[in-house]
């Protein structure tokens, strides 16, 4: 068969399951759509747009939860064993797209589908089992309250060999708005995707399949995969491999961009207690990698709760952000979040916010003090169980601030409702723009604009246009990587990400792709996520940062001050819209939709519908 007629890399269909009735059916995906949106976050966003209704409640039965795979998963390409999970976020009411990794991605693709869409609400707590195209629902009463890891272990004994499982913990069952969804200690963490699955009364998804995915040029792909693996052992990934992301703690602290005590400070006096390069020497840390990965970034720490995967984001959020000093204590808190199935960034951000409310006398919970391990531990338990103060904090810092009032929204550490990751906006001003405009809220994975801040000056004047172009380029790169899907920790090994990705994708699919096509695809992925948000009520006022960042200067360790001007940020946001060909208020016009090949949204009446 002519490879131009045969579809390689894709099954050309997704599986839609109604967990209320147990019914399932296949939905075709046109080849043109696969090529335009690639897979992962891109294809998932297209399915989300198609499968969801404007204004739907994110926790309503009809709200879809989408697992989306990619053309590269199952190939020998290093770090390609990844999957995307998408839904309308209950935390932000905007799009949420998160990634997780490892064997679930490989096995799910082998079920014969490019995506799995879960809708409905089961009358009782159940698990969804997908074996090839066959879907069954099983009782999950015995899994209630278990962690994702314990759920997987129990299901592995119940189900036949070979199933891979993604599950939620107690927080997901209780619909905590920042509950995550996990597979093998890797979390689709942000935006409350675990709560969406929990709202459907589904504890876990188990997948198993035998459908092998053909690739167009297998021999050449193997050769390319070897090259990529060899590069992945080099210095471009050394930080992740040798030290893990947790090594950022000391670096960010030294540069005064480590968020501390709910962003009141940019460096933490006790940071030396969290030097994992020293801890490593004491052999408390072991290394691990996802399936099909040659980088091996995971650093597993022996905490009081057992093995905990330590990452910079988790350690900052539950450490310096809450003023907690001891590495053992922080690892225990991370382990507790993993046990309950909570996103560590949002958990730490929300607790740190509440601690500041107590400090300022806005919240009568005197036990909740910065630096108190016992308080943080108690707060995590209350959040997961939605008890006492946890009822408020389980809604995230934005909604908590609205309930607490007294102007506390000014220091709620969030954008669009999503808690800010560990990049201090006053010290990292390109990242400040990236955080403000990102579709899913404050985000370091969909925008790596901090790379521009962590770069030496090039001699170019860093005016607003240059800053905006950096943010746009960073988002486009992320959109491509998240759609392929490859691990971002691999990005440094590419000399031209778009051109080299086009080559990889061409070898898998048989399509003759080039850099120009993939650049456009990346822009398209960013645009469809924005369109989803516009349809759900986005307005320009959401593209900003909390007032604190404009009104409070940040002291640096060398005695200087980092400041962020609101006017400057607004000008950069305007420049960002311009660089994206969006209008002055951030809307996407018909002409731009046509340029991006989003013709299905080009009809004038459709556009009005999108905009509501």
């Amino acid at each position: 068969m002519d490879i131009k007629e045969k579809m390689f890399g894709y099954h050309q269909k997704y599986l839609k399951i109604d967990v209320e009735t147990g019914a399932s059916f296949e939905v075709p995906i046109p080849a043109e759509v696969s090529r335009k949106f690639i897979g992962g976050v891109g294809l998932g966003a297209w399915i989300l747009f198609r499968e969801s209704k404007q204004g739907m409640n994110s926790l309503a039965p009809e709200a879809p939860l989408i697992f989306c795979f990619s053309p590269l998963v199952g190939t020998p390409l290093t770090t390609s064993a990844k999957f995307a999970v998408l839904a309308k976020s209950p935390l932000t009411n905007r799009i949420s797209d998160a990634l997780s990794s490892s064997h679930f991605a490989i096995e799910a693709k082998k079920t014969g589908f490019d995506a799995i869409v879960i809708t409905g609400r089961s009358a009782t707590k159940r698990i969804v089992i997908i074996e090839e195209g066959k879907v069954t629902l099983q009782n999950a009463d015995d899994l209630q309250g278990l962690s994702a890891l314990a759920t997987s272990e129990k299901l592995h004994t119940r189900l036949a060999a070979g199933f891979q499982i993604a599950a939620i913990g107690l927080a997901g069952e209780n619909q905590v708005l920042f509950a995550n969804l996990s597979h093998e200690r890797r979390h689709a963490g942000r935006g409350g995707l675990g709560a969406v699955l929990g709202s459907k009364n589904i504890k876990a998804i188990a997948v198993k399949g035998n459908t092998r995915m053909a690739v167009a040029f297998p021999a050449k792909l193997v050769e390319k995969a070897r090259e990529l693996s060899a590069k992945s052992f080099g210095p471009a990934t050394a930080k992740y491999r040798e030290l893990g992301t947790v090594s950022n703690l000391l670096v960010f602290n030294r540069l005064s961009v480590l968020p501390t005590r709910n962003f009141q400070e940019g460096h933490f006096a006790a940071i030396d207690k969290q030097d994992f390069q020293e801890v490593d020497k004491a052999a408390k840390v072991t290394r691990h990698s996802c399936a099909a990965c040659t980088i091996g970034c995971e650093h597993i720490y022996e905490s009081k709760l057992g093995k905990v995967r330590i990452e910079y984001e988790s350690m900052f959020a539950l450490g310096s952000l809450c003023g907690i000093e001891n590495a053992d204590d922080i690892a225990e808190l991370v382990g507790l979040c993993d046990e309950f199935g909570l996103d560590t960034i949002s958990t730490g951000g929300t607790i740190a916010f509440a601690m500041e409310c107590v400090e300022k006398g806005m919240l009568a919970e005197p036990w909740l003090q910065f630096g108190s391990m016992a308080a943080a531990k108690k707060a995590i338990g209350l959040i997961a169980n939605r008890e006492g103060l946890g009822k408020i904090l389980s809604l995230g810092s934005r909604q908590a601030a609205h309930l607490i009032g007294q102007g506390s929204i000014a220091f709620a550490p969030q954008v669009k409702g999503l808690e800010i990751p560990g990049y201090e906006p006053r010290g990292l001003q390109t990242m400040a723009l990236g955080l403000a405009v990102a579709s899913r809220g404050a985000d370091h994975n969909r925008s790596g604009a901090y790379e521009a801040d962590f770069s030496p000056p090039t001699g170019e004047v860093l005016d607003n246009s240059a800053i905006a172009r950096s943010a746009v380029e960073s988002e486009n790169r992320s959109a491509l990587i998240d759609s392929l899907i490859l691990c971002k920790f691999l990005r440094g090994v590419f000399s031209n990400l778009f051109a080299e990705s086009a080559e990889l994708l061409s070898l898998v699919t048989g399509w003759d792709m080039d850099e120009v096509e993939l650049r456009l695809a990346a822009e398209r992925v960013v645009a469809i996520k924005k369109l989803f948000n516009i349809r759900e009520g986005w307005s320009i006022e959401e593209d900003t940062l909390p007032e604190r960042f404009f009104t409070e200067a940040l002291e640096t360790q060398s005695g200087g001050q980092n400041r962020l001007s609101k006017t400057a940020l607004q000008q950069r946001i305007g420049a960002y819209y311009q660089a994206r060909n969006w209008d002055d208020v951030g809307d996407i016009g018909i002409q731009e939709l046509r340029r991006l090949g989003l013709e299905e949204f080009c009809n004038e009446s459709d556009l009005q519908t999108i905009k509501g």
Partner: protein, 95 residues
């Protein structure tokens, strides 16, 4: 700024992350001079660091140089003065 005793005629170099792993120390004293002279000195003193000073496939350096933690340096002719602190960190800030 980390408090380090000032040695006449020397700057303090602080290593973090991979540079610290390769150097095997957190701090060292280097004669004040241009950034390029400091890098040459470090290459001799810490041969395992040498690879870090080479460009990555994308043309960027694997390490960044920060003066006192305040801003990054690019020009190899930048003069580092006695008592100043030069941070050498991994260029990749992803987390």
């Amino acid at each position: 700024m980390i408090n380090q005793e000032i040695t006449p005629g020397f700057i303090t170099v602080e290593f973090l992350g991979i540079p610290k792993l390769k150097a095997g120390v957190s701090f060292c004293k280097v004669p004040a001079g241009s950034l390029s002279s400091v890098i040459d000195y470090l290459k001799n003193q810490f041969p395992r660091l040498s690879q870090e000073f080479l460009p990555s496939p994308s043309g960027k350096s694997h390490v960044l140089y920060s003066l006192n933690g305040d801003y990054f340096l690019h020009d190899p002719e930048t003069i580092l003065l006695e008592g100043q602190q030069l941070l050498i960190i991994s260029a990749d800030a992803g987390g």
